[in-house]
């Protein structure tokens, strides 16, 4: 296994193995727990790029799946053609997609702010071009790269898929820090809340939009990069992330971070439980039905609920 993750990467599964052993001894159903971690990671990572672009900029990016595909392609090609170590290749996948996102924002999306639905059509068209263009240039599939790390010690479960949960948490944490603790984050949020005032205060709002869009695209690319060693690399692969990502975005509501984390957690858990009990089909239906119920009961998504609760607690105090 040529992973290049080094000793630290190899240590982590061992630690996980110990922890799981301890949990197992107190009667926690471990396979179900692993499945849950896998699903939560998938749903959160599938959604994060889309959430940023939609939540912060009000653009529905129907090419989101193709951005994910692009990240996976750059990663896979870097490993296969240029023999770049996997972690570096993943970084390249994320960066390459971010650069592409910046170009798309500058040339196309910029003209469509405030035209939510037109942005859907344009990005749908972009998605068609990206999928088919990839097919024309690189053929119907790429040689995939193997999954690193092997199984979770003691369990028949891919260790890599479980580690992705930690990747998802790290990504959400990083996004939180970038948007709350950095100069850029403050300016970006100011731009989104009140562009006029922000501009008057000397913020280069154009740049903020470009960077925000690039970050959203880059995170989609990163998702593709992270799943590249575990999925089959075909031009249409982004489609399989699309449904989960949209469902998560609306279920989560307007707050980028809290929404994705909450929705990812709840939907992933429900999906895992129902898949285990009644099979994959029921698991999928349960996921979709949950989304419908949440949207119906909480028109502002889970974030809206969280905000309401916070307000109520505030009132009592």
């Amino acid at each position: 296994m040529t992973t290049g993750f080094g000793a630290a990467g190899m240590l982590t599964p061992l630690v996980i193995g110990d922890v799981l052993g301890a949990l197992d001894s107190v009667g926690v159903p471990i396979p179900q727990l692993l499945q849950m971690a896998d699903n939560i990671a998938f749903i959160a990572l599938a959604a994060i790029g889309l959430t940023i672009i939609f939540g912060m900029m009000g653009v529905i990016n129907l090419a989101h799946g193709e951005f994910i595909m692009m990240g996976a392609y750059i990663t896979t090609l870097s490993v296969n053609v240029a023999s770049i170590p996997l972690p570096v290749a993943m970084l390249l996948g994320a960066l390459g997609t971010a650069v592409f996102g910046a170009i798309v924002e500058r040339t196309i999306v910029r003209r469509l702010y405030g035209r939510l639905l037109d942005s859907m059509i344009v990005t749908f068209g972009l998605g068609l071009i990206l999928t088919q263009g990839t097919r024309i240039i690189f053929g119907n599939s790429l040689q995939s790269i193997g999954t690193p790390f092997g199984n979770v010690p003691g369990y028949t479960y891919s260790g890599y898929r479980v580690l992705l949960l930690f990747a998802a948490i790290a990504v959400l944490g990083a996004v939180y820090l970038v948007f709350t603790r950095t100069e850029f984050g403050v300016q970006a949020r100011a731009t989104i809340q009140d562009p006029e005032t922000a501009r008057a205060m000397g913020v280069d709002t154009d740049r903020m939009y470009t960077i925000t869009f690039a970050i959203g695209s880059g995170l989609a690319g990163l998702t593709g990069a992270l799943y590249a060693p575990s999925a089959t690399i075909v031009p249409g692969m982004g489609q399989s992330f699309l449904v989960e990502s949209f469902v998560t975005v609306v279920t989560g509501g307007s707050s980028v971070l809290l929404g994705t984390a909450l929705a990812g957690g709840i939907l992933g858990t429900i999906n895992a439980i129902f898949s285990n009990l009644y099979g994959n089909f029921i698991g999928q239906i349960a996921l979709l039905i949950t989304a419908i119920i949440v949207i119906r009961l909480l028109p502002d998504g889970l974030t809206g609920l969280a905000a309401t609760i916070r307000e109520k607690i505030g009132e009592r105090q």
């Binding site: 396979p31 995939s144 028949t156 575990s230 089959t232 249409g236």
Partner: protein, 426 residues
Amino acid sequence: MSENRISRRSVLATGAAGVGAALAGCSGGGGGGSEGDTIKIGVLEDQSGNFSLVGTPKWRASKLAIEEINDNGGIMGQQIELFDPDPQSDNQRYQQLTERLIQQEEVDALWAGYSSATREAIRPIIDREDQLYFYTTQYEGGVADKNVYCMGPTARQQLGSVVPYMIENFGTDIYTIAADYNFGQLSADWVKVIAQENGASVNNEEFIPLSNQSFGSTISNIQEADPDFVMAILVGNNHSSFWNQRTSAGLEIPMGTSTVMAQGYQHKRLDAPALKDVYGGFNYMEEIPTDRNEDYVSRYYDRWPDAGYANEESINNYFSIYMYKKAVEEAGTTDQEAVKEVLNGGMEITGDRSPEGDISLQGPVHHMTHNMRVMKCDAEHNITVEDQRRIPEQFLSETVGIDLSGPDSELEEQFTPTEYYDAAGE
């Protein structure tokens, strides 16, 4: 809004745009097909969309066969003219293009479609027009239609080669995982039927939606049940993720299949050892070590240097175009009823025309007797032939008892095993 200011010309333009759009673009209806000095063949295979991975080799092999025939003087001195628009893995598009090829181009024979859903989508049109149609994918079996010739092996033929081999070598406790749609469910039924015939039993069965690509719980369930072997009837790009996940999860149980490797060449696309100890029942893989096949494979890659693989169904397109040539020559005409008449009498396909080895058409049921092989993939993803037998189509010919060349010559049906076997459908 100020529509009232608009006057005549704008509005004429508007109206004309609508009519123009409706009328433009459909060139030359009616007519056509009257030249008589070419034979027209329609090939609808997916070069884009979900099925392009498996559809493109079919298109390439068809084109190779037609070019070879044309270079060698055509059919009865007539060159073949090929119509091959891209149906984009879209069933509505298939319907439109099938209508077009039949009505406007007036093709003499049609090859079309990868999935069974596509075949069922266009079969009403085929039957309405009595169009000679070759369906070349390996499929669930049971189609008995006066106009349809099924060139691929059926699930019973494929599973009939691999399941008995697996039972003999690994044991009688079977776990089936199958794609949750028609083909997967019927294939799972056939596994049960064949298992029962060979003294084994399917003790677990799990159906997996086509959109599923996370196999964690499936893999845990298999490990827990610890069967002697798994029959994995997985289909499509999402399901290909299973093999990487299985390997990294450390699941070492041998697996049989009828749908992996020979069609989507996963052993070439996935990093070894993802397909270690996978056994498939197929009529063809490009690795078959015969002179005849090696010669074919080199012709194929000479023509298509960028090709990824010569898959199982591509070879069915290849030999069936030669079979059509032979039938036309025997009939002495391209008249479709006359050609069907010849085909209904059965036919042997031998020599270079059939890279998989000599095979024959079972005229009365419109299916092929194939050379079915058990192919094994090892840890380095090398393919070896473990077993080889000629297996005829049995379900329609023996169990149901169909004769499309005689009493059933007007049939347009698909039969399923549930009605004929107790083991199926339980």
